[in-house]
């Protein structure tokens, strides 16, 4: 998927900012914090995971998503960091 397609979605940016801030989260928690429904968040997460930006970590039945160690993920994290620093 092209960069502009990944980053053109407001919910995806919000998900990325949330995970960047809190480290790792499960889908229900993300949906609750963003006041959005589970299915919608799950769809966005799948895209971000398939692009290698997020990775899944499972603890028994608990499934949590966090930034992967890929170059793409680090670049996105760097973007959020720079942006958040500037607006802080």
């Amino acid at each position: 998927m092209a960069l502009e397609e990944i980053l053109c979605s407001r919910p995806r940016i919000k998900i990325l900012k949330l995970i960047y801030t809190l480290g790792q989260l499960n889908v229900s928690d993300i949906a609750r914090r963003l006041n959005t429904n589970y299915t919608s968040i799950s769809g966005h997460i799948q895209i971000l995971e398939s692009e290698g930006i997020l990775e899944l970590r499972t603890y028994g039945r608990v499934r949590m998503y966090r930034f992967s160690s890929s170059a793409k993920a680090q670049a996105v994290a760097g973007l959020i960091e720079a942006w958040e620093k500037q607006t802080a």
Binding site: L22, G23, N26, S28, D29, Y59, G60, R61, V62
Partner: protein
Amino acid sequence: MTTSYSVFRDESKLDINYIPSKLPHREKEQRLLSEFFNFIIQCPTQMTQRVILTGDVGTGKTALAQTFGADLTSQTKRKNLKFHYVHINCREFRGSLQPILHKIVTAFRPTYPARGYAADEILATLMQVLDEEETTLIVTLDEFDSLIEKEGSDAVYKLTRIHETRQGQPQRLSFIFIMRDLNAIEHLDDSAKSTLQRNIIRLQRYGKPQLIDILNDRAALAFTLGAVEDDVIDLTAELAHSQTGNARFGIELLWRAGKYADASELGHISAECIRNAISAIIPTLHRSELASLDFHEKLFLLAIARYFKENQEAYVQIGEAEKAYQVICEEYEEPPKSHTQIWLYVQYLSKLGVLKAEVVSSETRGRANRISLPSIPAAELEQEMNLSLQGKR
């Protein structure tokens, strides 16, 4: 709010959650704890340990564990070893294992979901997280009795035998269990019991001289210079000692007395502040007990009350008390009783807990009897006695 006349320099040093950098009179126990957990420095993932700390309220169990945890954390940091210390009070979670384990996991994974997962799953997650972090962990379960009471043998067994299901893998999770009463263990079945009863450190009650050292240490950190005189510390230690050697009680008393001192803009803590503080903490004197005293006992108590109200002292020599009593007798136009009779009053009132009498030795003046008013403010006692003596003049 700290005001310009405040006796406090840093009142957080008297807070229940403050972890002191040194624990007077617990050096032996600290060394023992260090010995038990020495492997965390020497061979971190080769073994685990379980230790029970037990003792009465205010004997320093929590402070000992927390100080030890803080020390070990800084030691391991210096040696670049991965180590964490987590302190949990089981009573805060009503002794339920699931939220206790959740709390431990969130020390590493703050967003781990709070609901929907069983204790077994969370324990497995904890072990996975420790592996991911490649760290060792000591968990202190404070007020462990409440967990035993709520969850019984199964929970204890799960916690203490977790490494048996991980043969050949790094050993990462150790425990300190804090219990007031070891009898709780007796309710466990034999297999759970056997995992606990190996390393027990018993903390004896503090004696009065030890309490004086502890209170002096805290007072030096918490109060401004000269705000607390030695005799006030002495009186506070005496009171804490009478409360089964409860250091926490003494520390709380100092804090409360400091508040009374500030409210009265005294600039220092007087013995009366301590008495005010203790009367706010524990119900001390029953009116019926005072009402049942005979006439001269009441006169004597009134004399003591006035003495302490007028003199900001913690103790009065018996001779001085007798003089004060004679003045009161004059006021009530009564011939004073003899010295021997007064001594009997002191003993009786002491037995009731209204006064405290003790013999002290000094190099210059030999042995002397001194009296303190441990648990009721002098002003309150004076008022009570005046009421009780009304119409007797």
